[in-house]
C-alpha cells in the first residue's frame, strides 16, 4: 500500500481542477491506497456550505465530498492558514475536515509516496 496525497488548490466551478482532483482521490480509494485529501489555497472554497450551482449549469460536487468516508477516504484536511486568510472557519464548511497547520502539511507531504497538486 502506498500513501497518495492530493493537494486541491483551486476553487470550484471556475475551472475543472477541483473535479479532476476529486476524481483522482476516488480512483485512489478504489485501489485501497492510503489517501490524504488536503484542501488549501483557493481549494478551501470547495468546502463552503450552501453551493447552489444550478444557475450556472454546473454539477454540485458536494454530494461526492460528503460520501468520501464511504469510499474509505478518511484523511481529509483543510489548511488552517488558507481558511483564516479568507475569513472562513470550520462553521462555514459543509463536510467534517481536520484542520492542519503548515508544518503538518509539510510532514504529510514528507511521508507520502506520491503527491498530486491540482
Amino acid at each position: 500500500m502506498k500513501t497518495l496525497t492530493f493537494l486541491s488548490r483551486q476553487a470550484p466551478f471556475g475551472t475543472s481542477n477541483a473535479k479532476a482532483c476529486l476524481d483522482m482521490v476516488l480512483a485512489s480509494a478504489v485501489f485501497e491506497q492510503r489517501v490524504n485529501y488536503i484542501f488549501m489555497d483557493e481549494g478551501v472554497w470547495q468546502l463552503v456550505r450552501g453551493h447552489e450551482p444550478a444557475g450556472i449549469h454546473a454539477k454540485n460536487t458536494m454530494a461526492a465530498l460528503q460520501a468520501l468516508e464511504l469510499y474509505g477516504v478518511e484523511n481529509v484536511f483543510a489548511l488552517e492558514e488558507s481558511l483564516t486568510e479568507r475569513n472562513l472557519s470550520l462553521a462555514h464548511l459543509q463536510i467534517p475536515v481536520r484542520l492542519c497547520t503548515r508544518a503538518e502539511l509539510s510532514s504529510l507531504i514528507k511521508t507520502s509516496d506520491v503527491v498530486t497538486a491540482l
Binding site: 493537494l7 488549501m40 492558514e81 502539511l105 509539510s106 507531504i109 514528507k110 507520502s112 497538486a117
Partner: protein
C-alpha cells in the same frame, strides 16, 4: 526523505511560488520551470516572499526556460540546471509536488 517542489507559474501572477516556499521544509529543493522562472529575478517583491522562507531549501532554475525568456539579473544563491539536471533532482528527492 525530501521533496522537490516544482513551480511553473510566475510569482507575479499566482501564489504557486509562495505556497511552495511556505510548504518546503529543511532539505527540500525548489525548481523553477516555465513561467515559474520569473521567481528567479532579483526583485523586491521576490525578496519579500523569500524573507519568511526556510533557509535550508536549495533553489534551482531550469536554464532552457531562463534562456528563452531573457531574464535580467537572477537573485543570488540560485543554481541553473538543464533537463538532465531536472531528472537528477527528481531522482535525488523521494517525491515531488508540482505547483502550478
Amino acid at each position: 526523505m525530501s521533496t522537490l517542489h516544482i513551480v511553473s507559474s510566475s510569482p507575479f501572477d499566482s501564489n504557486a511560488f509562495s505556497s511552495a516556499l511556505k510548504t518546503a521544509s529543511q532539505g527540500d529543493a525548489i525548481l523553477l520551470i516555465e513561467n515559474g522562472v520569473y521567481a528567479a529575478v532579483d526583485a523586491l517583491q521576490i525578496d519579500n516572499l523569500m524573507s519568511g522562507a526556510m533557509p535550508d531549501v536549495t533553489h534551482y532554475v531550469l536554464s532552457e526556460d531562463v534562456d528563452a525568456r531573457a531574464l535580467p539579473r537572477l537573485r543570488n544563491n540560485i543554481a541553473k540546471v538543464d533537463y538532465a539536471g531536472f531528472v537528477a533532482l527528481v531522482c535525488q528527492h523521494h517525491n515531488s509536488v508540482s505547483w502550478n
